[in-house]
Amino acid sequence: MNIDAVTFLSVDLPALLAALFACLSCALVGNFLVLRRQSLMGDAISHAVLPGIVAGFLVAGTRDTLPMLAGALTAALVAGVMIELVRRLGRVEAGAAMGVVFTGLFALGVVLIEQGPARQVDLDADCVLYGQLEAILWLVPAGWSDLSDPAIWATLPRQVLQLAAVFTICLTIILIFFKEFTLVSFDPALADTLGLKSGLVQHVIVALAALAAIAAFEAVGSILVIAMLICPAATARLYTDRMGPQLALSLLVGGGTGVGGYGLAAFGPSLLGYDMAVNAAGSIAVLAGVILGLSILLAPRYGVLARITGRAVRGVAA
């Protein structure tokens, strides 16, 4: 395997950084979805943003990021409110409510994409599903020595800077309101009796998930967003019973999966002698699944093997 520095710096490094920050933001916010048994909110949001993105494009008439982001965020919030309304007012069970709302919005997005103006550019539903990580290029640095100049980091591609900013926002908000987020996830009724509005906090959690999902989604696609919202947090659940370690571990797993999965996709096939690269977003999702699967089997206390042997030991003792 030999990759020259320029290729790595211009193609692989920006993609790696984008994957890293996307995975970190999703993994962090995902903890609260998993703990509140709302993992599928991630599924719902990442599908529901499609019409917003297309509408943003149709209104602005360009592929600029800002109108599309605004559209996506609006669609995500609309989806969140609609799911809540259908669930509360229609007394529809949460899973079905999500299913009805997000498929409806996604279908709307697919129809909008097929209309004239959107068709002119390469806005297609495929890249919504699995992103364009490979298309993020950083053509500025000419060699390793350039990286020591701090100014050069500001020239990173827009997507990478955006993802880094979103991660910083998520991390800051969660650190500041860690106590409130934990309380509302654990016992919303107590939060209400204490006068800490649980409804508001829940909306903030959904909004953060939407922010992480939307930022990540242009680079890595909606499927990886779902994988990253759920898998790292679920993996961490198998190792710890404390909130702090839960968050830290999920970040570690999320970041590691992002970097490792990209590495596997970009360099794995050539190591095996094939002259190709496989889809990076898909490969990160698969790696996340493998790590979760291994943890399910092998985690020291809550893993399947530990449970079986623990039961056997107890059985012998009894």
């Binding site: 069970e93 996604f106 129809v111 499927i223 759920i230």
Partner: protein, 302 residues
């Protein structure tokens, strides 16, 4: 009807049959609160489809042989459902996390395999992507007829095992205690869901097929508290969505069938949410207001 061609008519009837079957089977998924398991099932068909395609190529069979691809889809979908059950049973993870993880990881695996196929010189992957969002236009008449027949078979099976499925959906514990083979009934139900999903892949696509299972059933729930009626209404809503959607899409080139079918169903859902007399919004708030008035006026006898 005279204005549509023979092939279109078959596709249209096929979509109607699909909607009917999905609406009926979906009732049990919604009532068992497993609506989103079918989402994982449908997303998880992708790696099966692509793997079947690769297998077919290796064996020298034509890659786009529909029965082969759909068999692959059914197998990987079934593995996904079994994985969800196993995670739920053996770990502390909750069902929602299991569903989300399985859905995204299986789909991710499908995407990786798809990117491998695209790099193969001999392969033509264009047909495979059609399963993601559906592609009614590419359906051959024979295929459409076969799929329509399968959908009708699924609908008939639901009607045949109505009693057993009702027992399972209402009170699994009681059914088991009363000596019913709940495991096997559950398996039969999941097999039907898999069948409907696989049948719907070409028409609606794997991302949106879940809507045909959930939305008509949830719509029907607003109109009735009786399961048999719910089944009929859900089947009707599904059939109308499938038929109208396919018709609209055949008339207007820029309306993709899968998405339009789903939008028709979603529209019916929201109309029902508001106007359905028994559980709809208007009916309920009217009754609540009446209760409140009666209470304040002291008309209610203690």
């Amino acid at each position: 009807m005279a204005m549509v061609g023979h092939n279109t008519l078959v596709v249209l009837l096929g979509a109607t049959a699909l909607g009917l079957a999905a609406g009926m089977v979906g009732c049990f998924m919604v009532l068992r609160r497993r609506a989103l398991v079918s989402d994982a099932l449908s997303h998880a068909t992708l790696p099966g489809i692509v793997a079947a395609f690769l297998t077919g190529m290796a064996l020298g069979v034509e890659g786009r042989s529909l029965p082969l691809l759909l068999t692959g889809a059914a197998i990987s979908g079934a593995i996904a459902v079994a994985t969800i059950q196993a995670i739920k049973r053996w770990t502390r993870l909750t069902e929602d996390a299991a569903i989300g993880a399985v859905l995204s990881v299986f789909f991710g695996a499908g995407v990786v395999l798809l990117s491998v196929v695209q790099e193969l010189p001999a392969a033509n992957a264009a047909g495979l992507k059609g399963f993601i969002f559906g592609q009614t236009a590419a359906m051959r008449t024979g295929e459409a007829m076969g799929l329509g027949a399968l959908a009708l078979l699924a609908a008939a099976m639901v009607w045949l095992f109505f009693k057993e499925f009702r027992l399972l959906a209402f009170d699994e514990g009681f059914a088991r205690a009363a000596g019913w083979p709940t495991g096997r009934i559950d398996l039969a139900l999941m097999a039907l869901v898999t069948l409907v999903t696989v049948v719907g892949l070409q028409t609606v696509g794997l991302v949106l097929i879940i809507a045909l299972l959930i939305t008509p059933a949830a719509t029907a729930r607003f109109w009735t508290d009786d399961l048999a009626r719910m089944l009929i209404i859900a089947g009707g809503v599904g059939a109308v969505s499938g038929g109208v959607g396919a018709l609209l899409s055949s008339r207007f080139a820029d309306l993709p069938a899968g998405a339009i079918i789903v939008l028709v169903a979603t529209t019916l859902f929201f109309i029902s949410l508001i106007v359905a007399p028994s559980r709809g919004l208007l009916g309920r708030s009217l009754r609540r207001a009446r209760l409140r008035r009666a209470l304040l006026a002291g008309e209610l006898a203690p």
